[in-house]
Symmetry: C2
Subunit: 132 residues, 2 copies
DNA sequence: ATAATCCCCATATAAACGGTAGGAATAACG
DNA sequence: CGTTATTCCTACCGTTTATATGGGGATTAT
């Protein structure tokens, strides 16, 4: 599986925020209820989105989250990346991973590089506003 | 990760067989040596390919495996599928999995269906003969 | 103060991943 | 018939990842 619940939850939070933009800060408990997800689990995704700068958070009563830019300026790729860390279809293409020692002679690597490009091209072409 | 060592090994076996077609049955130990993979681990991939009908096997001395069709009649997709079971980018699109109860209202499902199509279109367009 | 909210850290459970081990069945070959 | 090379079958095992859950601390509007 390339995209797990982490990425999907990140996306769900962002879609919900996009659908309720202009309402100030939206609390996670509201999002959890609408999206039928566990509040506790969504907290993880929301914090990652906040750390990545994709959303702005406000603590305390009547706090919550809101988008930091217009919805059409987010690509689906960057949202999923915030949840997943990597979207590479094979481990040898993950950034930060130990480079495969057979990379020079591997007969499959070029194929997977192409696949990665196809996937990223698609996910970069999709905007958050296309989903909300 | 969408494509693990299982799929990659299936592909490596097929590529090796394609490169040595016309030599009759090729033993797994030869393939393991050339591809620098464990014989024991490749056995799993080879058996799956055999069960799926992608290769023909012969037991006993001077046995081994060979392709059951010309190399240009295999898509990379079917080879990877034999190793992975599924290439779906999200679990809710895997065949045989319990259908997601929120499928009707899920705001992300259409996106992932599109992504799945993009991936499968690419992997179906690539032939084994392109890699060998 | 109080209640609502995000933030931080730790834990739990199950499944998947990446193999390994031992041996049975089969077939060629001398 | 015995040896050897091979696929086939079943089981196991340690590590990592996935999917969460729980408790409590920090912050802030009211």
């Amino acid at each position: 599986m390339m995209i797990t619940t982490k990425g999907r939850n990140a996306l769900k939070v962002m879609i919900d925020l996009a659908q309720h933009s202009g309402e100030g800060f939206v609390s996670l408990s509201d999002i959890a209820e609408r999206q039928r997800e566990s509040l506790k689990y969504l907290e993880t995704s929301a914090k990652q989105l906040s750390t990545a700068g994709l959303v702005v958070s406000a603590r305390g009563k009547s706090g919550g989250y809101k988008l930091s830019r217009p919805a059409d300026e987010y690509t689906v790729a960057e949202i999923l990346l915030s949840g997943e860390g990597s979207l590479a279809p094979v481990s040898c293409l993950e950034e930060g991973s130990a480079p495969c020692e057979n990379a020079g002679t591997c007969c499959t690597l070029p194929l997977f590089k192409e696949l990665d490009e196809v996937i990223m091209k698609f996910l970069n072409s999709k905007k958050l506003s296309d989903l909300a």
